[in-house]
């Protein structure tokens, strides 16, 4: 023991006996549970955001145009189908317009009509796949002109669906954000309760140290250091425990995205999530620090 005094002041010198008062089991466990939930909410947030992006980038710029009786003659010796394709290509805002071949049409219809749909002699419309230069390009005027030139033509504007899906993704993101806030609030409450328990348990020691001239910031600092350490430990544990679950979920969600199972575990989760996950222990530590500081300082005000 005496040898300890030969060193500089021990870094973790525990005047207030907080090592027992703020025990190292319950608090990190609860914070780990919160961090675990926060990791899931974060994944939900990022997943919803990337789905929204994917839909907007993909479906948002594509458009299908159906032309009934495609082979009938229109103006200038063109078929109705060719005329519509020409009109579309001349229109600004359209990156490309391509009529689907009979084979492609059959392939599209095969799930519903079986192979050899062409033999059924159904009056199939011509289908034109259109790519727009940007999502949400206004098509009202174009649709009007096309319908006038080739009556019966239908533009399948997917904008309304994109808007609805974007709203859905946004509300999912809001839910995830609300979950994150609630989790952070509960974590703060858990730390506040634990800190108050520590204050009650070490009341006598605190009063003694206070009487010896310890400032509020000194005492609050002792509690905050302990709470920060425990919360950070909980945050790390929760984040690490959430990883396999997140990877499992990403595996399930892989068909919706562009990432593939073969790309390895790292590529399965979005980069944003990899960047944010290490932030969990830091945020947990910050919540631990500020909550303990505020709780102890408010409690100390009852002392003169």
């Amino acid at each position: 023991m005496m040898s300890r005094h030969n060193l500089l002041r021990p870094a973790g010198f525990d005047e207030l006996g907080l090592r027992r008062a703020l025990a190292d089991r319950m608090l990190p466990f609860l914070v780990a549970a919160m961090a675990f939930l926060a990791a899931l909410a974060l994944a939900g947030w990022i997943g919803a955001a990337s789905l929204a992006r994917l839909w907007q980038a993909g479906a948002g710029t594509s458009l299908t145009v159906q032309v009934p009786h495609p082979a009938d003659a229109a103006h200038g010796g063109e078929t109705r189908l060719e005329h519509v394709v020409g009109m579309l290509r001349e229109n600004p805002g359209v990156a490309s317009a391509r009529a689907l071949s009979a084979n492609e049409l059959n392939a599209l219809l095969e799930p519903w009509l079986g192979a050899g749909a062409d033999r059924l002699g159904l009056p199939l419309p011509g289908v034109i796949a259109v790519r727009l230069t940007e999502p949400g390009f206004p098509l009202g005027a174009l649709a009007e002109r096309v319908r006038e030139a080739v009556p019966g033509t239908r533009l399948e504007d997917q904008g309304i669906w994109i808007t609805r899906l974007a709203t859905l993704a946004q509300s999912l993101q809001l839910c995830a954000a609300a979950a994150l806030l609630v989790v952070a609030g509960v974590a703060a409450a858990v730390i506040a309760v634990a800190t108050r328990g520590g204050l009650a348990a070490r009341r006598e020691a605190i009063e003694i140290v206070h009487g010896l001239g310890a400032s509020d910031s000194y005492i609050a600092g002792q509690f905050a250091a302990r709470a920060t350490l425990l919360a950070a430990a909980g945050g790390i544990a929760g984040g690490v425990l959430a990883l396999p679950v997140l990877l499992g979920l990403a595996n399930l969600a892989a068909p919706f995205g562009t990432t593939s199972e073969q790309a390895g575990a790292f590529a399965m989760l979005p980069v944003g999530l990899w960047l944010l996950l290490p932030g969990l222990p830091m945020v947990a530590a910050a919540i631990g620090f500020t909550t303990a500081q505020a709780t102890v300082r408010r409690w100390l005000r009852q002392l003169p």
Partner: protein, 234 residues
């Protein structure tokens, strides 16, 4: 040094426990604080070691007006006041050394100086060999001496003791008094509250006498030598 002007004290929601206190202690004074149980001795000491603030009147401690002082200025003032309690108030999970070192660590002194000062202080109170013991392993007298080491290690300007001999036998009480007298000789203002009449008669000095929250005997002028018997004040 210490000055009470019409000081009154009441704890929240209770009638006043100290009334109209007027006295002054010069630097280097020694005072007994005498009076029956419940007379308000502990409350008077609590005022002096800034555990409570007066509810009326004007209290000046070490030249600072306590009422107008901001709360965050109090810790610095407290570090200049040493207090010895009847129940010692040592921290049970710390060694004697760490207990005695506490005020220096709170004041942010370098560890080298702390080691030297605490070592010297523990030798002074005769606890050098028990530096690594926990308070629970010490006798009552040893615990009291550890508490004194903690109280005086910062060389306080004001040393207050509340029934410091209550848990000690005669020999230990006598030894304690020698320590207090030594501190006083070195210039510290000392106030000792006690019931121990034998001790007071062996160490005659001026006294603050309290009865039912009022000062019934006081000495206002600076005292050069505490060993003068106090004239009875009716």
């Amino acid at each position: 040094m210490v000055r009470f002007d019409d000081v009154g004290l009441s704890y929240a929601g209770h009638p006043e426990v100290l009334h109209d206190l007027n006295f002054e202690l010069a630097e280097g004074a020694f005072r007994w604080l005498l009076g029956p149980s419940g007379a308000g001795k502990t409350s008077l000491l609590r005022l002096m070691y800034l555990a409570v603030r007066p509810t009326r009147g004007r209290l000046s401690i070490l030249g600072a007006d306590v009422a107008s002082l901001r709360r965050r200025s109090l810790p610095r003032l407290r570090r200049r006041i040493g207090v010895v309690f009847q129940d010692f108030r040592l921290l049970g999970h710390l060694s004697v050394f760490d207990n005695a070192a506490l005020p220096l660590r709170l004041a942010g002194r370098p560890e080298g100086q702390i080691r030297a000062d605490v070592g010297e202080m523990l030798r002074w109170v005769g606890l050098a060999k028990k530096a690594d013991a926990r308070p629970a392993e010490l006798s009552g007298g040893e615990q009291q001496r550890a508490a004194i080491a903690r109280a005086v290690v910062v060389r306080p300007n004001l040393l207050l003791a509340d029934e410091p001999t209550g848990n000690l036998d005669e020999i230990q009480a006598e030894r304690l008094m020698q320590l207090f007298k030594e501190m006083n000789r070195l210039g510290t203002t000392v106030v000792v509250a006690t019931h121990n009449d034998a001790l007071v008669s062996r160490h005659p000095a001026r006294a603050l006498r309290l009865e039912r929250g009022r000062l019934i005997g006081t000495t206002c002028e600076p005292v050069a030598a505490y060993a003068l018997p106090e004239p009875e004040v009716q």
